[in-house]
């Protein structure tokens, strides 16, 4: 199965919109959400193969999103990108991985590396 659809959950619109363009340039279809709850709703409508999510979002954060997706969309791969709101960043990302994320990136990250990771996620 080729990864085609990606859902980006991030409250920073400048970031998510730019990333969307970058991913679309690679041939992906990209949807946007601004928090965890919204991500679930969007996923239900237009299911994505990969969820790229920030961890710190208002109202319903990345952990909630990961948790909800694991339950409801277990097949969807999860990639975490985070501004590491907490000081103990490594632990934060580790926690995300423990929760089921397949990859984790710390902002700002090299977009090329994210693209590589997405390619690797394709089974």
């Amino acid at each position: 199965m080729i990864v085609k659809n990606i859902l980006i959950a991030d409250d920073n619109r400048d970031f998510s919109s730019t990333l969307k363009l970058a991913l679309e340039a690679e041939g992906y279809s990209v949807y946007l959400a601004t928090n965890g709850r919204e991500a679930v709703l969007v996923q239900r409508k237009t299911p994505a193969d990969v969820l790229i999510t920030d961890l710190a979002m208002p109202d319903s954060d990345g952990f909630e999103a990961i948790d909800a997706f694991r339950k409801e969309f277990p097949a969807t791969k999860v990639v975490v990108v985070s501004g590491a709101k907490r000081l103990d960043a490594p632990l934060y990302l580790k926690a995300a991985e423990l929760m089921g994320a397949h990859a984790a990136f710390r902002k700002p990250f090299d977009v090329e590396m994210l693209l590589e990771a997405l390619k690797a996620l394709a089974p």
Binding site: D11, N12, R13, D14, F15, S17, T18, L19, L21, A22, A25, E26, T34, A56, M57, P58, V81, G83, A84, K85, R86, L87, A89, R106, K107, P108, F109, D110, V111, E112
Partner: protein, 725 residues
């Protein structure tokens, strides 16, 4: 036993050997005295006995002289009679002279006329033959005279011619002569001297001579005489008085002289001696006891006073050790005791000062009785009046915060169970006035010889200040942590957008929509980051006191109008309705910084007022101050958040995220900058949903044409002020 008793015992014990010694010596002395007396009495007896003998010998001598008369050679009785009569006249004690043949037949008797019949002496003198055969003068025993009918005795002398007894010449003597002799002896009146003949009849007596003459002597004397011819014996008189009797039988005459000395007289000596001894002993004992009491009092009174004083001191009363002992050692003791107390007091005072300074109190729990004693410092820590503590564990636990009671109990229990000598626990107490204090308690268990806990003593320190400082530190630390985390997040997000945009610019077609989008993002996000960095740096500078103000004179009102105008032109008020009411007010301030204030306030107003809302700015002069007010109809501020509005890093709940996020420094900067200008900043809101207004006050100055010259001459002043966070 009391000190006095010991001293008395000591005195008596010392007296005992003395008493024994005195008794022994006394006994010997008394004995000696009695012996002396006896010897004296016996000597007296001898003297009188000798005098009696002398009297008798006198009579014998006279008769002997008479017996040598030549008239007796021839038997010339008549001539002899004349001579005898003459001699009789010279002897008042003689009552008669008679001459008798050796057979006893008298041949001459002066009491009978010549030629009258004459008695036979041997008839009434039992010892006649004895007298004749002896051929020596004899003294007869007392007989009742046939002539006179009275008791008298005869002194007989044998008349020897040519070695043969021719006649016996006798003189009849009246006993009165011996009585007189006795009288002359000056025998003490209560002594009874008595002369006895060989037969034991009383011849003469100092007491009642006529009544007793011729009577036999007392039984005891007669018995004594059978035992020895002289001696001393205790007996009784014929009047039945107890007496001691020295007596002597003359070897020559066989007559006895005895003296009855009343026993009382003899014993008086002994009694006197004993009385003296006993009196002396009693006196010594009394003296010893009296001395013991005095000395005892001198010793025990100061000691008792010392004991009372130390008791009082133990109770905590301020007593002074009495210094009035007369015994030097006790005085020294009192003095050292006092200096010891003074030293202890000093130490106590120092300890109390230390405890006071350290805000510490001490307590003691007697495990057996359950009583708890608190020092005054501890009562003060608990906010109680001195002396008002209940004295029980319950009274203590009553003050402890309910959430901490278990913790305290467990700490103490652990102390008891395990070997650790000390427990350490922190707990809160509630004072009577309701305030909360943190207390750090340390306690130590003291056990008796068998390991059973006996006492628990401890120290409590009021650590509220420390705890609060710790809390404040923790809070500050946490706030800093949160800020740093937020900073990290707020900077990383724009950076992520920038890197993504950079990638897009690489990957996308140069003229395409994607590229354009990327360029917009770069512009926006770099501006945003720039703002953030500027705010951060400004706050840091102000905090470190390194922000310099560059003042100038300008009109605040027109400046504010200008800013509003610029923002409006830039389209920033597109979603809101913004109006101004700016009157000219001149200030001497840093224009750039004041603009920053206005910008921050406007920025916030826009952020927190939903689309369609109203924002109002006003500038006016009031009471010498330039007052800038920015009000909005936006979200408003909750009452509890109002006080913390101007604190750095404080952000509103439910704040907008994403590109519009800030660091919470805007208002902090506003306040700091206003204060740097010696002004102030304040916030007001009627509550959530009721909008908010922010007011900044700066010192107003007179319009320029008055002050311009003054200011022109002044140097721009760099104001350095250290601000506390």
């Amino acid at each position: 036993m009391r000190l006095r008793a010991y001293l008395v015992s000591l005195a008596l014990a010392t007296l005992l050997p003395v008493a024994i010694f005195a008794a022994v010596v006394g006994y010997f002395l008394v004995k000696e005295q009695r012996d002396t007396f006896r010897r004296g009495a016996e000597a007296r007896t001898l003297a009188v006995s000798t005098a009696v003998d002398a009297e008798l010998n006198g009579s014998i001598a006279t008769l002997l002289a008479l017996s040598t008369l030549p008239a007796l050679d021839d038997g010339d009785f008549a001539a002899f009679r004349v001579r005898a009569e003459r001699i009789l006249a010279t002897q008042p004690a003689w009552s008669n002279i008679n001459l008798a043949m050796p057979s006893g037949q008298q041949v001459m008797n002066l009491q009978r006329p010549p030629g009258a019949p004459l008695p036979d002496s041997s008839q009434f003198d039992a010892d006649w033959q004895d007298a004749v055969e002896r051929r020596a003068p004899v003294v007869s025993d007392l007989v009742v005279s046939p002539i006179t009918g009275q008791w008298d005795y005869a002194v007989r002398v044998p008349v020897l011619r040519d070695g043969a007894v021719r006649f016996v010449l006798s003189a009849v003597v009246r006993p009165e002569s011996l009585s007189k002799l006795l009288q002359a002896q000056n025998i003490p009146a209560d002594w009874v001297g008595v002369v006895l003949d060989r037969g034991g009849r009383i011849v003469a007596r100092t007491a009642n001579p006529e009544g007793t003459v011729g009577q036999p002597a007392s039984q005891s004397l007669r018995e004594a005489l059978t035992r020895a011819s002289s001696g001393w014996f205790p007996g009784r008189t014929i009047e039945n008085t107890a007496v001691y009797t020295p007596y002597r039988r003359s070897a020559a005459s066989g007559w006895v002289f005895a003296m009855d000395i009343p026993a009382s007289t003899v014993n008086a000596v002994a009694w006197r001696g004993i009385a003296l001894l006993v009196a002396g002993l009693l006196g010594a004992i009394a003296l010893a006891i009296a001395l013991a009491r005095v000395v005892g009092r001198r010793l025990s009174a100061p000691i008792a006073e010392l004991a009372r004083t130390s008791e009082a001191l133990g109770r905590g009363e301020p007593a002074r050790v009495p210094d009035t002992a007369q015994v030097r050692e006790l005085r020294v003791l009192a003095q050292t005791f006092q200096s010891c107390i003074d030293a202890m007091r000093e130490r106590e005072d120092r300890l109390r000062m230390a405890l006071d300074a350290g805000r510490m109190g001490t307590w003691e729990w007697n495990v057996r009785t359950g009583a708890v004693i608190w020092s005054q410092d501890l009562e003060a820590i608990h906010g109680m009046a001195p002396g008002s503590f209940g004295g029980t564990l319950a009274a203590f636990e009553k003050d402890v915060h309910p959430d901490d009671v278990e913790k305290v109990r467990r700490a103490v229990a652990q102390n008891f169970e395990s070997g650790n000598a000390e427990h350490h626990v922190e707990y809160r107490i509630v004072r009577p006035d309701g305030t909360l204090r943190w207390v750090e308690g340390r306690g130590k268990v003291f056990r008796d010889a068998s390991g059973v806990p006996v006492r628990l003593i401890g120290v409590c320190t009021d650590v509220t200040d420390r705890k609060r400082a710790e809390e404040a530190l923790r809070d500050a630390d946490r706030a800093k942590d949160e800020f740093l985390a937020m900073l990290s997040h707020e900077l990383r997000n724009p950076l992520a957008a920038l890197t993504t945009a950079a990638h897009l610019l690489h990957a996308a077609e140069p003229g395409g929509a994607a590229a354009a989008h990327a360029r917009d993002v770069v512009e926006r996000q770099t501006k945003h980051m720039s703002r953030l960095v500027d705010d951060l740096l400004d706050v840091s500078r102000v905090t470190m006191g390194k922000l310099a103000l560059e003042r100038e004179v300008f009109d605040l009102g027109s400046m504010v109008s200008g800013v509003v105008q610029a923002w409006r032109s830039a389209g920033r008020f597109s979603a809101h309705s913004v109006n101004t009411d700016c009157t000219p007010v001149w200030v001497y301030a840093d224009r750039v910084r004041v603009e920053q204030i206005v910008s921050n306030l406007l920025h916030n107003a826009l952020k927190f007022t939903p689309s369609g809302g109203t924002i109002s700015l006003s500038v006016e002069e009031k009471e010498g101050e330039a007052v800038l007010r920015v009000s909005d109809s936006g979200r408003g501020i909750a009452p509890q958040a109002l006080g913390r509005m101007f604190e750095p890093f404080v952000q509103a709940e439910d704040r907008p995220h994403g590109s519009e996020a800030g660091l919470g420094l805007g208002l902090a900067l506003v306040k700091r900058l206003a204060e740097l200008h010696a002004g102030s900043a304040s916030a007001h809101s009627d509550g959530l949903g009721c909008g908010a207004s922010f007011t900044v006050r700066l010192a107003a100055i007179a319009p320029p044409h008055e002050t311009q010259s003054a200011v022109a001459n002044a140097e721009p002043v760099a104001v350095l002020r250290r601000m506390s966070r």
